[in-house]
C-alpha cells in the first residue's frame, strides 16, 4: 500500500517537473526566439522591452491557458469515462465539444450582428448549454445503443453535424472577426487574454476540487451501480454531478480554445497505463497534470512547427493521439454494465 502511494507521488512529481520544464521551453519557443535569460528578465521586469511584451502579454497567458484547459479537458474525459463505465469516452468523440462550439458560434454571430461582443463568461455559459444539449442527446442514444463503440460513432456523427452547422453559420456571418471565429472553431489557444485565463482558472480550479472530493463515490461507482448503492452512494446525485462537472470543464475549454480533439479520451488511458491504477484519487490529479503536459506540448508544436504560420491544435493532438484512440477501440472487449 505504502509502496504504491510512494510510486504515485514519484510519478506525479516527475510529471510536475516535466510541466515546469515545458513551461519555460514554451515561453522561449515560437516565431520570435527568446533566450532563458530574456524570459527571466521580462518576467521580472515586464513593461521593459519588446521581448517582455511578447512573453507577458502573448505567450504567458496562452501557456497558462494551455495548462489549465488541457488539464480540464482530460479530467472531463475521465469523468465521462466513469459515467459511461467505459474508457472509450471523451468530450470530443462524443460530440459534446462540438455541441458547445455550435451554441457558442450561434451566440457569438448573433451578438456580432447586433454590434456587441460576447463576454468571456457569456462564452462559457453558451458552451455549457451546448455541452449539456449534446450530452443529453448522447445519453438518450446510450439508452438505445448499448455498445460503446457504436455510441462513439453516433457521437462522431453528432460532432460532424454540429461542425457543419457551425460552418454554415460562420460562412453567413458578416464581420471582420470571422477569421478569428474560424480559427477558434478549429481549436486554437491563440489570442487568449489574461481575462480569459482568469475566468477559466476560477472555473477549472473549482470544478477540479469538486471532482477530487468526489473521488470516494466515483471509486465506488467503478464497481457498478448496485454495489455503489449498497455502499451508501447516492447514485442519482453522483450521476448528475458527473455530467455537470464534465460538461463545465469541457465547456470552458471549448469557450476559450475551441474543440480540442482526443485529449479527453487518450490522456486518461495514458495515465492508467503509467500509473497502473484507475483509482480516482490518483487519476484525477494525474489526468490534470498529464493533460496539461500534452496540451502544452501540442500547442507549442502548433505555433512553432511551421512558424510564423500556425496550425490548429486539434491537428497536432489528432496526429499524436488518434492512434491511441484507435488502439483503444480495437483492444477493447465490449463489457456491458448491469
Amino acid at each position: 500500500m505504502e509502496n504504491k502511494s510512494r510510486k504515485y507521488i514519484t510519478i506525479m512529481a516527475v510529471m510536475f517537473i516535466l510541466l515546469v520544464g515545458l513551461f519555460f521551453l514554451c515561453l522561449g519557443w515560437g516565431s520570435a526566439d527568446i533566450t532563458l535569460k530574456e524570459i527571466f528578465g521580462s518576467l521580472l521586469n515586464p513593461g521593459d522591452v519588446h521581448m517582455g511584451r511578447i512573453v507577458v502579454s502573448i505567450r504567458l497567458p496562452r501557456i497558462t491557458a494551455a495548462i489549465l484547459l488541457g488539464g480540464a479537458l482530460s479530467v472531463s474525459g475521465f469523468l465521462l469515462q466513469i459515467f459511461f463505465g467505459n474508457p472509450i469516452a471523451g468530450p470530443y468523440v462524443l460530440g459534446i465539444s462540438s455541441g458547445a462550439k455550435l451554441i457558442v458560434a450561434i451566440v457569438m454571430v448573433f451578438m456580432l450582428s447586433q454590434g456587441k461582443y460576447i463576454s468571456a463568461l457569456g462564452m462559457v455559459a453558451a458552451a455549457f448549454i451546448g455541452s449539456l444539449i449534446a450530452m443529453g442527446i448522447v445519453m438518450l442514444l446510450s439508452n438505445k445503443v448499448k455498445n460503446m463503440s457504436l455510441l462513439v460513432v453516433c457521437g462522431v456523427m453528432i460532432g460532424y453535424l454540429c461542425s457543419a452547422i457551425t460552418e454554415f453559420i460562420i460562412a453567413f456571418a458578416d464581420d471582420t472577426n470571422i477569421v478569428n471565429l474560424h480559427n477558434w472553431s478549429l481549436g486554437s489557444f491563440s489570442g487568449i487574454s489574461w481575462e480569459d485565463v482568469a475566468i477559466s482558472a476560477i472555473i477549472v480550479i473549482v470544478a477540479f476540487v469538486f471532482s477530487f472530493v468526489l473521488s470516494k463515490p466515483i471509486g465506488a461507482y467503478q464497481l457498478g451501480e448496485s454495489y455503489a448503492r449498497n455502499m451508501g452512494v447516492n447514485i442519482k446525485h453522483l450521476r448528475i454531478l458527473l455530467i455537470l462537472l464534465s460538461s463545465i470543464l469541457s465547456a470552458t475549454v471549448t469557450a476559450f480554445a475551441g474543440p480540442i480533439s482526443f485529449v479527453g479520451i487518450a490522456v486518461p488511458h495514458i495515465l492508467r497505463t503509467i500509473l497502473k491504477t484507475s483509482k480516482p484519487i490518483v487519476m484525477i490529479p494525474g489526468c490534470f497534470l498529464g493533460g496539461a503536459i500534452i496540451t502544452l506540448l501540442c500547442d507549442g508544436i502548433a505555433r512553432s512547427a511551421f512558424s510564423p504560420r500556425e496550425i490548429s491544435i486539434s491537428a497536432v493532438t489528432a496526429i499524436g493521439l488518434s492512434p491511441i484512440v484507435i488502439y483503444l477501440l480495437i483492444k477493447r472487449k465490449e463489457v456491458s454494465h448491469g
Binding site: M1, G85, P87, V213, S215, K216, G219, A220, Q222, L223, G224, S226, Y227, R229, N230, M231, G232, V233, N234, R272, K276, T277, S278, K279, I281, V335, H337, G338
Partner: protein, 265 residues
Amino acid sequence: MVSSIDLESLVVGYKSPVIENVNLTVNSGEIVALIGPNGAGKSTVLKTITRQIQKMDGKIVIMGQDEDGISEDNLAKKLSMVTTERIHPELMSCFEVVSTGRYPYTGRLGILSKEDIKIVKKAIEMVGAKDVANKDFSKVSDGQRQRVMLARAICQEPEILILDEPTSFLDIQFKIDILSVIKNLAKEKNIAVLMSIHELEFVPAVADKVVAVSDGKVFKIGTPDEILTGENLASLYHMSLDESNVLATGLIDYSNSLKRVLCQK
C-alpha cells in the same frame, strides 16, 4: 430480541407485481434459503431489500427500523450483499476490491486507516483468498472472484448479509468453501443471512429455514426437512410426483454427505 429482517406483506416487482404478500422474519445468526424455479422472483425480493429496486407495497423492517427511514450510509453499515452481477473494475487488485467494503467507514476521501487495512486483510483470510489478494481482479477465476466479493461484503461489517445465488457457476470445491464461510459468519458473528440458492442439495447443510417461492407467491416456509419433500418439490418445480419423489430421496442422501463435509471445515 429484535429480528434482523422483517418483511410484512411485501409486494415486489417491476411494473407489475412479481411476488405478492411476502411475510418473513430472519433472525440474527440465522441462515434463510430462498428457493424456487427460475424467474420465480427470488432475486426481485433480494433486490428490493437492498434497494436496487423500489418495493411496490408492504413494509421492510431492518433491525427494528422501517427501511424507508434509514439513510443510505446507515443502511450500508447494517446490510451488505453479493449479487449475481459481474463487475468489471479496471486495474483493481482483489485487495482493492475487498477494501471498497470499508466505504461506509472511511473519511471524505476514502483513505484506508491501519484499522481498515487490518479488517480487509482479515476478511481476505477468512474467505481463503490470501494468495490472490495482490492479483488483478479481472484476471482471477470466477470462484476466486466470488470469494473476493464475499470478503468485500464481510468488510462492510454488516449485521445482515444478502446473497443472490452465491454458489452458482462454481465448482464443487468453491461451493463448499463459500458455504462454509457463510455458515461460520452466521454462527460466529451472529450475522443474519438471506440467500437465494438453486442447489437444493446444499440447503439442508446450510440453511436453518427455507422459503419456497413459486407462481407469484410464497409457497411455503419451514425447515429444510419440511420443505424438501417429494410432494413440495413437485408443485414447486411443476414436475410429476414420481420424478420429485426420486429426486427428494436422492437429495436427502447427498445432502447428508455434504453436511458431513461442511462440518469438517
